[in-house]
Symmetry: C2
Subunit: 457 residues, 2 copies
C-alpha cells in the first residue's frame, strides 16, 4: 500500500465535527460518506450520541477500531488539539477542510498543524481545501450540496487543484457532461501533501489514465519539473496554469499567495516537461477526454465524414489551421464507399454523405476509413437536424470506436435532440465536440502527445 | 415596402406541393405556417381538396385572393411550369426549396427558372435551399421536424447562410441556448437573390442589430465588399468563411461549387470591410450575442468580480492575452466595496468576494464598478457550487445590465444547477460564457468593433 493510499482507499473514516445541522459542513461530509462509502464511518462530536443513525464518539480516542482517515471540519483554533488526538490514535491520514490558517495570516496555527503531523508521521491534506473525491471508493469530503455540485461517474481522468473553486466547477461540469473521473484532490495550503506528492501517487495509480491540474505556484520547482517530465512519458498531464501573464501572476499572489513566478519560466518548464497547457476548464476537458478515451494516432492525417457539406468545409479549414492534414483517401476506399451511396454524395475527403444519410451510410464510410492506411484519425460529423439519422447512429459509431484501431472524434451542433445524442456518444467513450475549431485543437494536442511518446511520426 | 420584404412580411402565402403525408416536405412546411403565421395560407395540390382543414387549390391560378409569397416544394422538373403560373398570378416572391438543379448538373432547369423569374419580375430565393425563417412574422419554410430543429425566440441577430446544414444547426443551437433571432435565410443556388441582396435588406431592417453569415464564395466580389464596408459602420457583421485554407477551399469547390477564391484575398477583403471573422458556430454566437445585447465599451479596461479566486486568476490571464487591461480601480471604489464585505475578501481587481458571497455582495461590487470611470467593461464570474449564491443573483445582474451604461459579460461553469442559471441570465440579455478564454475573446472583438465605429479610444 502506498503512502497516500489511505486518503483514497481507507477502510475506516472518522468525521470530526460531524453535525446534526444540515447547514454545517460536518453534516454534508458525513451525509456524503453515508450515501456511498463502503468502509466504517465514525462521526466525532463531543455533544451528541448519534447522528443520522450512527453512533457518535466524543473524541477520536473513544473510537473502538482503527481509523485510517480522519476528516477535520471544525474551527481552526480547535484543530491542533484534535490533531494531537488523531496522532495518539494512530490515524494514517488527515484531511483538514477548515479554513482560517495562513491564508488569513494565522501562520502560527498552521505551524502547529505541521509540527503535530510530523511528530506522529501522519500525512495531511489541507488545511483550507475541499479535500478528496474518489469516484471508485467514494471517499468524498466535498462539502458543497449535491444539487449544486454533482459528482461525476467513475472513469480515467484525475485532477489535482490548488483552487477549491476551480476544482468544484470541474467536477460539477464533468458530471453534467458525462465525463468520467478517477480521483480529485484539492490540496489548499499544502502544509504537508503538495502537488508533487499527489502527482507521484497518480503516476502509479492504475485507474488514472490522464492527469489534469490547476496550479498557480509551487514550493518545489525542481522536483515538480522532474516529476512531470517522468510522468508525461507514461501518461498525459494537462495543466491550467493560473498566472501565465503579468496580470494573472499578480492576481495569483493575492489568491494563493504562491509565488506564481515568472510566466516565461513556467512556460518553458511546462513545455520541457511535456505538459499540455490548457487555457481554461473547457480546453482541459477537450484534451483530457480524447486522451482518456481514444487510442493515440500514428500520424496527423485526418479522414472526415459528414452529412452537411458546409461543416465539411469548416472542418477542412480547422484541420489545416491546426497543423493537421486532410488524408488522401486510397482509390479502394473511394470505390468501397461509392458502391453504397447515392450519386449525389461527394466521395472524397471530406466524405459528404449528404443530408439524407442514414446510419448504414455512415457505417460504410467508417469501415472504409478504418481500413485505409492513409487515414490516421477519423473525424465524424453528425448533424441531427434532418430526419435521416436515427439514434442507431450511436451504436454504429461506438462499435467502431470500441475496436480501438484508430482514434474516432465526433462533432455535432444543435439543440435538445442533438445534445441528448451527444451525451450518449460521450458516455460510450466517443469524445464529441460542438465546435470544429475545438475538435481540431484537441486532435492536434493528441497527435503532438503521440509524437512526444514516440507513437507517431 | 422594400423589394425583398414580401419574403419576410407577406400578407398571404401559397404552399405549392402541400401534402397530407407527414413525411413530405410540403406537409412540414404547411404545418409550420399553420402553427404560427398570421396571414392567409393557400395550400396548392392538384389531387386533393383539403389539407389539415384548409381548402386546397389545384393551381395557384385558382386562388381567389392575391399571393405575396409562393413556397415551391415539388420535384425539380415540375418547377418551371408552376413558376410560370406564379408569374401569371402576379406573385411577388418565390422560395424554391426543391433540389435537383445546377448542384447535380441540371443547369438547364436552373436557367429556365431564372428566365421565368425575370420575365415576371418575381424575386426568387433558392432553389436547393431551406429558405426563410422570420421569428417575428413566423414565415417558416424550414422543412426539418421541429423536434430535431427547434426554432429560436425572436431577437436581434439575423443570419444569411450559403449552407443549409450550417444554417439549420445554428437555429437549433440558438433555440436551445436561449439566443434571439430576427431573420434567417438559406439562399442555396442563388438563381436570383444572393448574399449581397440579403445583406442590403438586413442593413435597413430595424429588428436586426447584428448580422451573421456563412459564406463559401460569391459571384459579386466587388459589390459584396462595398456592401459589407458600408454596413459594418452601422451594424456588426460576423462571418464564418468556409474555405479559409487550401484544404477548406478545395472542399468548398466540391460543396457549393462556388469559387472560394484565394484565402488571402478573402482575408484581406473581410478585414478591410470591417467584418468580424469567426472560426465556427460557437465563436459566431460568442461575438453576436455580446454585440446584440450589450452597449459598446468606451475602452479596453475590464473590471472583474468573482466568488472563486482561481477563476479570477484565469480571467486575468485571459484578459491580458486578448489585448485587454485589468482596470485600475479608484480608491473610492475600493473603499465602497470594502465597507460591505468581510475582511477576508480581496478588494482589488479582480474583486474576490470569496466563496460565501451572496447576491448583496455582488450588488455592492457591481454598483461600485459601474460608477468607476476607470472601468469600461464588467466581467462578472459567478460560481454556483457553493450555497451562498441564490437565484436572486439573476435579478441583480440583469438590473445592472438593463442600465446599458457599460457592457456586462458573465461567466459560470458547472452542471445542471449552473446551466439552468446560465440560461436565465442569457434570456434576460446578459451574455454568459462557460470559458474565460472565450469571454475574453468576445470582449476583445466587442472592443475592436467599438474602436472601428469610433465609439472607443
Amino acid at each position: 500500500m502506498q503512502d497516500l493510499d489511505y486518503f483514497f482507499n481507507p477502510k475506516s473514516v472518522a468525521v470530526i465535527g460531524a453535525s446534526k445541522h444540515p447547514h454545517k459542513i460536518g453534516h454534508v461530509i458525513l451525509w456524503n460518506f453515508l450515501r456511498s462509502y463502503k468502509g466504517r464511518i465514525y462521526p466525532i462530536n463531543p455533544s451528541v450520541d448519534e447522528i443520522m443513525g450512527l453512533k457518535t464518539y466524543k473524541t477520536i480516542l473513544d473510537v473502538p477500531g482503527k481509523v485510517d482517515l480522519a476528516v477535520i471540519a471544525i474551527p481552526a483554533k480547535f484543530v491542533p488539539p484534535v490533531l494531537e488526538e488523531c496522532g495518539k490514535k494512530g490515524v494514517k491520514s488527515v484531511i483538514i477542510v477548515s479554513g482560517g490558517f495562513s491564508e488569513i495570516g494565522r501562520s502560527d496555527l498552521e505551524g502547529e498543524v505541521k509540527r503535530i503531523g510530523k511528530k506522529y508521521k501522519m500525512r495531511i491534506i489541507g488545511p483550507n481545501c475541499i479535500g478528496v473525491f474518489d469516484a471508485f471508493s467514494q471517499v468524498d469530503t466535498l462539502f458543497m450540496p449535491r444539487y449544486r455540485l454533482e459528482r461525476p461517474r467513475n472513469g480515467r481522468i484525475s485532477f489535482v487543484s490548488q483552487s477549491g473553486a476551480v476544482g468544484s466547477a470541474i467536477l460539477d461540469w464533468a458530471a453534467a457532461k458525462g465525463f468520467g473521473f478517477s480521483k480529485f484532490i484539492s490540496y489548499g495550503n499544502a502544509v504537508d501533501v503538495d502537488e508533487v506528492d499527489l502527482l507521484r501517487y497518480l503516476e502509479k495509480d492504475k485507474t488514472t489514465r490522464v492527469i489534469g491540474m490547476y496550479i498557480e505556484g509551487t514550493r518545489r520547482g525542481r522536483e515538480l519539473y522532474e516529476t512531470l517530465r517522468r510522468i508525461t512519458k507514461k501518461k498525459p498531464v494537462i495543466a491550467i496554469k493560473g498566472g501565465r501573464t503579468e496580470s494573472g501572476s499578480r492576481a495569483a499572489s493575492s489568491h494563493t499567495g504562491a509565488l506564481a513566478g515568472s510566466a516565461k519560466v513556467w512556460e518553458a518548464m511546462l513545455k520541457q516537461s511535456g505538459v499540455i497547457v490548457a487555457g481554461d476548464i473547457r480546453q482541459m476537458f477537450n484534451y483530457a477526454r480524447v486522451l482518456a478515451e481514444q487510442p493515440l494516432p500514428k500520424g496527423r492525417r485526418v479522414g472526415v465524414i459528414t452529412n452537411g457539406g458546409g461543416f465539411g468545409v469548416i472542418a477542412s479549414d480547422a484541420i489545416e489551421k491546426h497543423g493537421l492534414e486532410l488524408a488522401n483517401l486510397e482509390k479502394k476506399t473511394i470505390a468501397k464507399i461509392r458502391k453504397h451511396v447515392p450519386e449525389y454524395a461527394v466521395v472524397k475527403n471530406p466524405v459528404d454523405l449528404v443530408g439524407d444519410a442514414d446510419a448504414q451510410r455512415y457505417e460504410v464510410a467508417l469501415d472504409a476509413l478504418m481500413d485505409d492506411p492513409n487515414v490516421d484519425i477519423i473525424l465524424v460529423l453528425i448533424l441531427f437536424q434532418t430526419a435521416g439519422v436515427q439514434s442507431e447512429i450511436i451504436d454504429v459509431v461506438a462499435n467502431k470506436s470500441d475496436l480501438k484501431k484508430k482514434p474516432i472524434i465526433a462533432f455535432s451542433a444543435g439543440g435538445e435532440f442533438t445534445t441528448l445524442h451527444m451525451r450518449m456518444l460521450e458516455k460510450v467513450g466517443v469524445p464529441v465536440f460542438d465546435s470544429l475549431e475545438e475538435a481540431a485543437d484537441a486532435i492536434e494536442k493528441m497527435y503532438l502527445y503521440s509524437l512526444y511518446v514516440g507513437n507517431a511520426e
